[in-house]
Structures are given as structure tokens and as C-alpha cells.
Symmetry: C2
Subunit: 216 residues, 2 copies
């Protein structure tokens, strides 16, 4: 299964492409914003394609041609302005969804925020609410497609070493999760068709990732 | 027909409530952000209700109870940050749509941007694109409801005196339009049921507003 990783140069993206390198049946195609980001992936022997999420749908569609799945793990980051929140976290995600549809790629994994329900927008601190809103609308756009989507809602991301153990369910208590484990959950989701048209929260926990995702 | 005017304290909103004051069959209920904005409307003898568009759906729904139509003419303005673009122009609009649905108000007039098609987001200058994107998603949300909507796409807004004459069609050449004439187009749309589930661009022109809107 060839997988377009959108946001490959992000922290979760790098873990994901690295893990796929050693995977029997998954092969990454790393979508990156500029050529300077290519070295990391070339060193891994992974294919790269340069597309900016602010480019148009046909540009993203071209990157998605011939792949079997798309993983959206891009984020504008905490230090960009709110204009990037709407242009990347919302519109970049929606353009990627439309690009996948346009070239017939059905499988789509969305890395969302921990809680993107309506109430979470209202309850978020003012500085964070625009991000939650952007993710709310991107998730909602995806739900209204007929794609084979999985929406993953990770807890507070850390750079701690992964444990390979998580708690995963429609609703779990708010907690941390290492980015490395999020990448492993993405892989487990790609391997498990039972995650299709489902969404779940994940935080650190006591269940092996394969087992936790198989039980979704 | 009682009409909740969301964004009543904006420049179009003030014209709209003023015109309704002298209208036989339309009565405005001005939704304003704070009590200090009430004097203008009290002087007109118009009812006011204080709700912030960053409040939750039930708060907006309470304002919409008992009205026959909602006009959304709020905008975060050019001088607010991009966080307000997503929280007011997009999420405020969507919450107003959901509020109208929740209390059974079917008629909904949206004041949009001149061009909110996908291509317009791509072609907009970087500083304006987030606003176009916000309006794109708000319009799209409205289209996917079963409300009796009308989406009005005005050209470049000016404070010139209204002429009562416009050009209105699905697609017209880019041009200016006085805010006063936009307010008159809103009134004509409320009067003309043929505008239900339609959208059109308006700029200054040579056709009397009533006639132009009746021909939509």
C-alpha cells in the first residue's frame, strides 16, 4: 500500500515515514513544502513530492495520483499566524480531501485535534479556539464525503519515546501521548479496515497499539 | 415579517434596520454585541437583543426565537486579527445558521463576499485569502442545509449614497456598490420568494433594485 504522507516534514510525519521504511506492506510518499526538506527522506530512501498546501487542488491531486491512501498530518504550527490556521489546517486539509476524491483515492487518515466537537470550540481558550474551529470544519468536511476515512484525535503531543501502548476509544480522559505512538497508531489504522468511517481519541495507556486499534 | 438582523451595528446593518423602520411588512430585531450599541436602534424604535457571535448556539437561538427570517450581515472587519476571521466570519455565521435551524426559522439571507468560489480563494492576495476562505465555508455550510436561503455576493462596498439601481446576476463584472443599495437588495430579497435557494452577485448598475431582484 502506497501512502501519501501530507505534512511529512512535521514531527509525526517524520516518525511515520521512518516506520514505513521498515514495514512490509506500507510504502511512504512524502509530500513536503520545499526541496530543502527532501534530504531527510532521501536518506531514508523514501520518495518525495514537493507541493505546498496553499497550492491548488490539482497540484495536490497530482501528488496523490497512484497512491492507495492519504494521511493528513500537516499543521500550521503554534507559531504561525491565525491566517495559516484557516489556510493550512482547514483549507489545506479540505483541498487534500478533494484532491484524494478527484484521483479516486478512497482511504484517508486525518490527524485531528483531541476534541473537535462543537462544545470544544466554545470551551477552548481564545488563543486556541481558532485552531479547534479549523479542525472542526476539516473533520466535518471529511465526514460528509464517501471516503474511507479514519479520524484520529490524539491527546497532548509530547516528544517522549513511544511506549507502543495507548488508550483508544471514542472518548477517553485527556492525557499526553508521544508523537512516536501517534505515528504507530496511524500505521495500525492503515492495517485495520475496521477503522474505516470511524474516529477515536488516543492517549498514552496500557494496551498494545495493535490490540487497541483492532478493538475500535 | 420579523427579521433578526445579525450584525445590526455594522454599516449595512444600520441601513437595513433604518429602511425597515419605514417598511409596511418588515420589522427588524437588531442583534448587537453590547448594550452600548443599543442607542442607535432605540432611537429608531427598533427592538434590540444583545448576543456576541462568539457565544454559543443556544444564545443565538434565543435571539432568533419568534422571528420569521434571519439576515447575517456581520463581519469581523478589516482591522481585526485573522482569529476573528475564523471565529466570526466563519464560525459565527455557521452558529447563526444552526441557531436558525434549531428554532425553526427557515428564511436566511447571507451577506457573503463578491466571489467565494474555490478559485477565488486561490487567486486572492495572501492577506485577503483567509477572509474569502471563511466566507467560502460559511456559504457552503448554508447550501448544505434545507433552509430557504439567499446568498448575496456584493461587489466592493462604498459609503456612496445609494442609487436604487444595481446589476444583479449569478455572475457580473467586478465593480463597486454602495452599502445603502446592498441593504435595499436585502429587503427586496426578503420580499421576493423567487430568491429562495439562489445566490447572486450585485454591483452598481442601471436596473431598479426591485426589478433586478425579481428577475433573479
Amino acid at each position: 500500500m502506497k501512502v501519501l504522507v501530507v505534512g511529512a516534514n512535521g514531527q509525526i510525519g517524520k516518525h511515520l515515514v521512518t516506520f514505513m521504511k521498515d514495514h512490509d506492506s506500507l510504502e511512504a510518499k512524502a509530500m513536503i513544502r520545499n526541496e530543502e526538506q527532501a534530504a531527510f527522506f532521501e536518506n531514508l530512501g523514501a520518495e518525495t513530492v514537493v507541493v505546498d498546501l496553499e497550492d491548488d487542488i490539482p497540484a495536490i491531486a497530482k501528488a496523490a495520483e497512484g497512491v492507495d491512501a492519504v494521511v493528513f498530518t500537516a499543521g500550521s504550527g503554534a507559531h504561525t499566524g491565525k491566517d495559516k490556521t484557516i489556510m493550512v489546517d482547514l483549507d489545506g486539509a479540505v483541498k487534500t480531501i478533494e484532491a484524494a476524491k478527484s484521483v479516486g483515492v478512497k482511504r484517508f487518515i486525518m490527524i485531528s485535534s483531541f476534541d473537535t466537537r462543537r462544545q470544544a470550540i466554545q470551551e477552548a481558550p481564545a488563543s486556541f479556539a481558532p485552531y479547534v474551529a479549523a479542525k472542526f470544519y476539516a473533520d466535518e468536511w471529511l465526514r460528509r464525503t464517501d471516503l474511507d476515512y479514519t479520524i484520529i484525535h490524539p491527546g497532548l503531543l509530547t516528544n517522549n519515546e513511544g511506549t507502543g501502548m495507548v488508550e483508544a476509544a471514542e472518548e477517553v480522559g485527556r492525557n499526553e501521548i508521544p508523537r512516536e505512538d501517534v505515528a504507530k497508531v496511524i500505521i495500525a489504522s492503515l492495517e485495520n479496515e475496521n477503522t474505516i468511517r470511524k474516529e477515536f481519541q488516543i492517549v498514552k495507556g496500557n494496551t498494545p497499539i495493535q490490540e487497541a486499534i483492532a478493538a475500535i
